[in-house]
Symmetry: C2
Subunit: 276 residues, 2 copies
């Protein structure tokens, strides 16, 4: 039986937030989406925490590691264990000041929600997206509650019956999916992923993959390429904390049948992410 979703704000089980909360009005916070395995472990915990801390620094938010860890443990203890779950961990600016100007103490609210989650995945269809991602400037690489571009891009997925869309930047170069990072094998067998220097979330699975690939001797190129590169690619996969390394079975009209690079990546990533 699936557990019910729960939400914990500053160690208190809650169902609502004040209407004046800055998270609601300005998306004033950063978050992580984390896979929790059947033994209650938060996968890639250190990597998630590192990105959260980076975001907190940019936003001027307090980052209290002990408190965050204890709040996460409390939230997990309120949720049925023994099954895979997804944990969303947010640092939101505390306080209810009207107007952009926040208080200067940088106090943060820790919001943790835990939801049931199943990894079963049938076909994974990738299409071209129709939203160009903007350069992110001061927010570059972070995962913030300012997610409108991704929401708008993700609207098209349902209409198209696809699981993911390729998002390009304002110059037409591929960046990522709406909720995942993108990898493709070119016709000479080289694995590529996009440079994320102007926009795009620096995914924690992507970061670990880049490190472990080096150790494993699998060369990966950081590319600046248009979706034309995908049209000729025999193998494409995407990564995120919940999907792990997810092979693309269909790109636009084409059926992909090669999955061996993804399999090798899954091998050397074993233990870091859930197996599929």
């Amino acid at each position: 039986m699936a557990s019910q979703p729960i939400a914990v704000l500053n160690r208190e089980l809650i169902e609502s937030v004040p209407i004046t909360h800055r998270g609601l009005h300005y998306g004033d916070g950063v978050f992580e989406t984390i896979a929790v395995d059947t033994s209650n472990a938060c996968l890639l915990w250190e990597e998630h925490l590192a990105r959260l801390e980076r975001g907190a620094r940019v936003l001027g938010l307090a980052f209290e590691r002990d408190r965050i860890e204890s709040d996460v443990q409390f939230a997990l203890s309120c949720s049925a264990s023994g099954q895979q779950r997804v944990l969303k961990l947010s640092l939101l600016r505390a306080g209810q000041q009207r107007g952009y100007t926040p208080g200067l103490n940088g106090q943060s609210d820790v919001l943790v929600s835990v939801s049931p989650w199943s990894t079963s995945q049938d076909d994974f269809r990738l299409v071209d997206g129709d939203v160009a991602l903007s350069p992110q400037g001061v927010l570059q690489g972070l995962k913030t509650h300012n997610s409108l571009e991704y929401v708008i891009a993700a609207r098209a997925l349902v209409e198209k019956g696809a699981q993911e869309a390729v998002l390009c930047d304002d110059q037409g170069y591929m960046v990522e999916g709406t909720r995942s990072n993108l990898f493709w094998v070119n016709s000479t067998g080289t694995l590529s992923t996009s440079k994320l220097d102007r926009c795009g979330v620096t995914g924690v699975v992507r970061e670990v993959l880049l490190k472990r690939a080096m150790e494993d001797g699998l060369p990966i190129k950081l590319s600046r390429a248009t979706p034309d590169a995908l049209a000729q690619s025999p193998e494409i996969f995407v990564t995120n904390s919940l999907l792990g390394v997810q092979s693309v079975t269909h790109y636009k009209e084409r059926t992909l049948k090669q999955f061996n690079v993804a399999a090798r990546v899954r091998d050397f990533m074993a233990g870091a992410i859930l197996a599929h």
Copy 2:
């Protein structure tokens, strides 16, 4: 006596929203901040509504004019009249789906909050900001609940004891203030404001000002200029729905003593915005 702030969601007086609300998680909505005069009129109502509708279209949100107007009237009726107030009107995506992908029906929640507000303004100090605004792409010109860049930029205001900061784009050209549009007079007497083609909120007061200036024979140049232009400017003012046309009294270390262009603008804007 100041009235208390009130909030109305879909015609119901509320104090909180569900923790799973998409506004909180993704900033999934657009808003307007509107001045309400002592006779209960929402100033520049048509202009605000037009921008809100533009935003709703980009986000794929239902825009039901009758419902919005009736909800605003209801909120105003719940708030003490006879004094200036500020009304914040949001269209937020209804529903509580986890993940970026929204439902396709585009149903929107109408959130209206009304707060007491005083226009008294002493010195108005303008400083240079330290956040570069990013190009906004699909969200260009809109006022969305994705306001993190402005929040980060506004943090410095308190530290510097300033009311507003000049924000430049990623190429160093002036765009706007953190919550206002920027106007300056150059040494030959020409009034300028920034082009807002890459980033910046297209302010409703700014739009009206540009139209009425033409009718009044006051030439305004849409400029692409660095803050150097302000250093040599004898007169600077900012505009927004609450400040109206607000003269800058100090720019960095310099005291400004010329306010006549702002006075002329206030004259031909009379009736559209609150007088100062």
